[in-house]
Symmetry: C2
Subunit: 289 residues, 2 copies
């Protein structure tokens, strides 16, 4: 098996390392030639992905931002073999899928959207590792969810990189859920750390919940801005919802209204119980993002 | 050494188990006789703390809410020996210390405020464990911070229960910092989980940051209401600050203003870097709360 990886950042670099660890040949390319050189030296890839070898790939994973992914696919579609499966790894799915499905159809290619559910606080190939995806879910967004043979083939290919579960959903549902489960924690963490109190001398006065809330505050503002703006409808809805909740707590606290505050907290407790009952504990993957 | 524990919930039960594991005799009491019986059967305590043995204690730890702690200390001060060190374990310090310092002075007792920086998502003695405090910080709020001999003695006593570091601060500074590092994560998590999206079918579409943001959503509304209201000045300031930040992101996203959004995210990234530089990574204790 041969895999092509487009974009050698944290995700692309880790995909390369994971596939190489599994004995798969990996061709990779990055917009920055120095990064490609680094990937070769770090043995994240076997060789550069070129017009000469791109048709050899059984699988091509596009691990760049949505706009760049669409651009790359459009420019390279005619070089890709009809036997190759192409999957992007972007953090939002509506934009990339709605543009890539027609490109694939036009060129007779097999493409589906994807989202590897793992990451790290720090990006770039130097933080990549071959076990980033161990046991993590990979979410697939196929144009048609009924081609079970294809989906099983893709599942087999992804599990070689260490993914533990394959989820199948629509671009719409992915983006609706991801606004809440991933974009919000990153956004809130980034805003939370801005409090003046963050630089208090007494940071020892903290426990695990503080660690939780500040862990992902450091983020790549260019990538996340693109992802946030592509998902602006769902994301603003979630931000408004949280601001509304916080305002209710704030007013009950400012008013010294203990009954109302207890009720608000009891409601949240009940929601948490309902989530646990329906979904079980939140997924915890090897690496956390 | 003999330790008295007042209040046998998660904290009191864990203190009892930790001290018993270290070979210390533990007397405990709870407002609920069944809990005291449970603690005896669970071997979290050796015997009930009574008027008959309270004078034997070298250390008394009061592990109930602030109002109850003050009430207990007032009612029991005259039974306590002048040789005993009394420390409360409440999550806010201004209220409890400002009431307990005068009680101690009136009765010639040695008292200081305290806050063990560890917890669990679920309370109650049945979730207590002898390693809850392993390597965790214990924050002390003495009336006078210059009695080094006393502080060293207390430090030795606390380390027996597994605490890793002893921090000394004022009630004011404790409450200012705790509003941000602990009360806010609990409040925001409790509000965050209320989003309709929390019950989406596709909870697999999540990674570590979602786990982080929902972990402490389940909380004891009675205890936390008391703690939040006692700290209402600092806490409302932090809530207002976060609502302000979220509103700025929200508006930039709704306006589709990528430059502004990138700048807001870059500012948060810079704050996170500054915190890391000044304070190092946030404390992670054995158990996280």
């Amino acid at each position: 098996m041969k895999v092509g990886v487009v974009g050698l950042g944290l995700i692309g670099g880790s995909l390369g390392k994971a596939y190489r660890s599994a004995g798969v040949t990996v061709y990779g390319q990055d917009i920055d030639p120095l990064t490609t050189q680094y990937a070769l030296m770090a043995e994240a890839i076997d060789a550069e992905l070129t017009d000469g070898n791109i048709r050899e790939c059984d699988l091509i994973l596009i691990a760049v931002t949505p706009v760049q992914a669409v651009k790359w696919f459009k420019e390279n579609a005619e070089k890709i073999s009809g036997q190759t499966i192409v999957i992007d790894c972007c953090g939002t799915k509506r934009y990339v899928c709605s543009h890539c499905f027609p490109i694939a159809a036009e060129h007779g290619l097999t493409y589906m959207g994807g989202h590897p559910m793992a990451g790290k606080e720090r990006g770039g190939i130097k933080h990549s590792s071959d076990d980033l995806f161990r046991d993590a879910p990979f979410i697939l967004v196929p144009e048609h969810a009924d081609d079970m043979e294809l989906l099983m083939e893709v599942k087999g290919m992804l599990m070689l990189a260490g993914f533990g579960r394959i989820g199948i959903t629509t671009a719409e549902e992915h983006d609706r859920v991801i606004a809440f489960t991933s974009q919000m924690p990153h956004l809130v963490s980034n805003g939370f750390i801005k409090s003046d109190t963050a630089l208090a001398d007494s940071q020892m006065i903290s426990a695990g919940s503080y660690q939780d809330f500040t862990r992902v505050a450091y983020l790549d503002e260019k990538m996340w801005s693109e992802l946030f703006l592509e998902n602006r409808d769902y994301l603003t809805k979630e931000i408004d919802s949280l601001i509304g909740e916080l305002t209710r707590y704030r007013d009950a606290i400012a008013d010294g209204d203990r009954g109302r505050l207890e009720q608000l907290l009891a409601e949240g407790k009940k929601c948490k119980s309902a989530v646990l009952e329906k979904c079980g504990p939140a997924q915890i993957n090897g690496e956390r993002n």
